[in-house]
Amino acid sequence: MSREDVLVTADWAEENLGTAGVVFVEVDEDTSAYDGGHIPGAVKIDWKTELQDPVRRDFVDRAGFEKLLSAKGISNSDRVVLYGGNNNWFAAYAYWYFKLYGHDQVQLLDGGRKKWELDGRPLSKDTVTREETTYSATEQDTAIRAFRDEVVEAINGKNLVDVRSPDEFSGKLLAPAHLPQEQAQRAGHIPTAINVPWSKAANEDGTFKSADDLRELYKAAGIDESKATIAYCRIGERSSHTWFALHELLGYSDVKNYDGSWTEYGSLVGVPVEIGPGAH
């Protein structure tokens, strides 16, 4: 897989704003950014209220995903270009959902909202409506989704890549530094995990680093390319960003995102937890 298959540049995006069959979708945790100005023609998906189950801690199910995409006016044959704030974290999470539910024609806008804004490209406040479709999703492809039991089994076996900041990894902080820290769970990381913060995969403007730089980064951090890999963070969206780098940009074949991530693992009874900078 090449970079062009999974990423579009801001230049390409701006040239293809009105292209039939291309749907731009902004994905954010807080959609006020979209409401204040979005890429012309883009529809929005609210990560929290539209992609998460409102009651259980899980995603929308297959029927829910079909209903959502139908309502957004996205059809199975559309080429979907996802972008968002937070260096594309939630866009990368949505990308992973689209793959999970079998939508192959999906790409990320390299650099997301940040590069778009820093470049001074056009933003629109116009309401976007697309005709409803009848979208059909596949069953979840669990080849790219890890659950807690296989994460525990992966200790000392698979590559575990903790993509949180070093202070979260070592147990000094329980959340990224822009969020308050009060939370009832254990701090630290999964034993044998390596710490490669998601941000190392991105340039300052939010674009992904080159494949050569990424490969060097993960190998230097101790990833074993002959082994399967599970990426995790706190709630699974930063690790979607790294999953994208490992699976989509580097083409590693067996990479899963553990969306339960530290908020699940760090609350499990009886599992091993390591604190400090780690031995790996």
Binding site: D28, E29, D30, S32, A33, W47, K48, G85, N86, N87, W89, F90, K114, E117, L118, G120, S165, P166, D167, K172, L173, A175, P176, A177, H178, L179, P180, Q181, E182, P197, S199, K200, E204, D205, C233, R234, I235, E237, R238
Partner: protein, 102 residues
């Protein structure tokens, strides 16, 4: 607080429930030619220059981070230019830091 990892709304007033006797808060404004500027991408870098967190400044230019003790650099990116400033936080409380870009 947000239960996600996304950047919460940036305001000059601290959100309810933040205990400055316990939390280390780094906060301030981004300015262009002395005037507050919203929509800047404000990045918190640790003592080694490593990225730690990023928020977008509010319409009034405000930003805020919750950090561990140490020396930090706050770097802001904006259409009009970039800028950075350093701050050292020894303990809990609000540690002001101002960043001029352009």
């Amino acid at each position: 607080m947000s239960d996600g990892c996304g950047a919460p709304e940036q305001t000059a007033a601290l959100p309810a429930g933040i205990d400055l006797a316990k939390e280390i808060v780094l906060g301030g404004k981004v300015t262009v030619d002395g005037a507050p500027v919203g929509g800047a991408f404000v990045r918190l870098l640790d003592a080694s220059g490593e990225f730690t967190a990023e928020v977008v400044s509010s319409q009034d230019g405000d930003f805020r981070f919750f950090a561990a003790p140490g020396r930090w650099t706050v770097r802001a990116l904006h259409r009009s230019g970039n800028g950075e400033a350093s701050v050292t936080a020894d303990g809990p409380g609000l540690h002001p830091v101002a960043v001029a870009v352009g």
